[in-house]
């Protein structure tokens, strides 16, 4: 799993000023599930899963996902952003092991 933390951000290929664009993001991450022993007791250890995804656009946090272990492995999220000005859209994932994974997309008008 050397690919952990690979982030992909996809935006539509042509965007006009003022459009509401749907952005799709994907991060490669195991999102570990809680394990149990034979007695059904939870094995107490630190599970590595993503707890937060922050989307910033033009320096402002637009969308913030707080996630739990009920989210699938290699989490996929989509959301909408109103493209008012050209600029960078940055997506940051944070996991419980202290990892921070970033992905960016450039919003340009055609």
């Amino acid at each position: 799993m050397s690919d952990i933390g690979k982030v992909r951000v996809r935006i539509p290929s042509s965007i006009k000023a003022g459009d509401v664009v749907r952005v799709r993001t994907l991060v490669l991450h195991p999102m570990e599930r809680i394990e149990r022993d034979a007695q059904g007791k939870i094995i107490d250890r630190k599970y590595n899963y993503i707890t937060k995804m922050t989307v910033t656009y033009l320096g402002k946090t637009v969308v913030l996902f707080d996630t739990t272990q009920s989210v699938s492995e290699n989490p996929f999220f989509s959301f909408a952003v109103k493209a008012t000005d050209p600029g960078q859209l940055k997506v940051t994932f944070t996991d419980t092991a202290g990892g921070r994974y970033e992905g960016t997309a450039e919003i340009k008008f055609s």
Partner: protein, 163 residues
């Protein structure tokens, strides 16, 4: 031998006690776990909703919320779900939070999404895990504090929540 037996019994009882405590208080009894899993604790859906919303009334928002999720999920490990809310998304009136809740998951609150008016549209999509056939709800908190929900049952062929 006798000691072994007693230890097993005790640990089983202990586990039951922890489960009982978490159901009653809505938080895990182990303190460091409780802080680590502020949102995603192991609990029943009623306890989870009570913890997050504090018993505020949740109205039916079927007309405003469009919850898109397959009726039958063959693989519970990856279930695509999307929520779209009909909202003007102006600073005066916008959707503040969208929660996705899977009733029968051991961790019922799947995700909480905070939105800013700059998003332009109240839309979120995610791939979630479902442990068994369950109701999936989308709960929407508007900027004035109103809570709305839409729910739909999803049949799950193979559960994907293991723990």
């Amino acid at each position: 031998m006798g000691d072994d037996h007693r230890m097993t019994r005790r640990s089983v009882l202990g586990a039951l006690g922890v489960l009982g405590a978490s159901a009653a208080t809505g938080a895990l009894a182990v303190p460091d776990r409780a802080t680590a899993q502020a949102l995603g604790a192991q609990e029943t859906v009623d306890a989870g909703l009570k913890r997050v919303f504090g018993g505020r009334p949740i109205k039916d928002g079927g007309g405003l919320i469009k919850l898109d999720i397959p009726l039958i999920a063959e693989n519970g490990a990856v279930v695509p779900v999307s929520v779209e809310v009909n909202s003007p998304m102006t600073p005066a009136n916008y959707v503040k939070h969208i929660y996705i809740v899977a009733d029968k998951n051991r961790i019922p609150i799947v995700t909480r999404v905070a939105l800013a008016p700059e998003a332009g549209q109240a839309y979120v999509g995610a791939n979630i895990r479902l442990g068994e056939t369950t109701d999936v709800r989308a709960i929407v908190e508007q900027s004035d504090g109103t809570l709305l929900q839409a729910k739909r049952e999803v049949k799950v062929t193979v559960g994907g929540c293991g723990g």
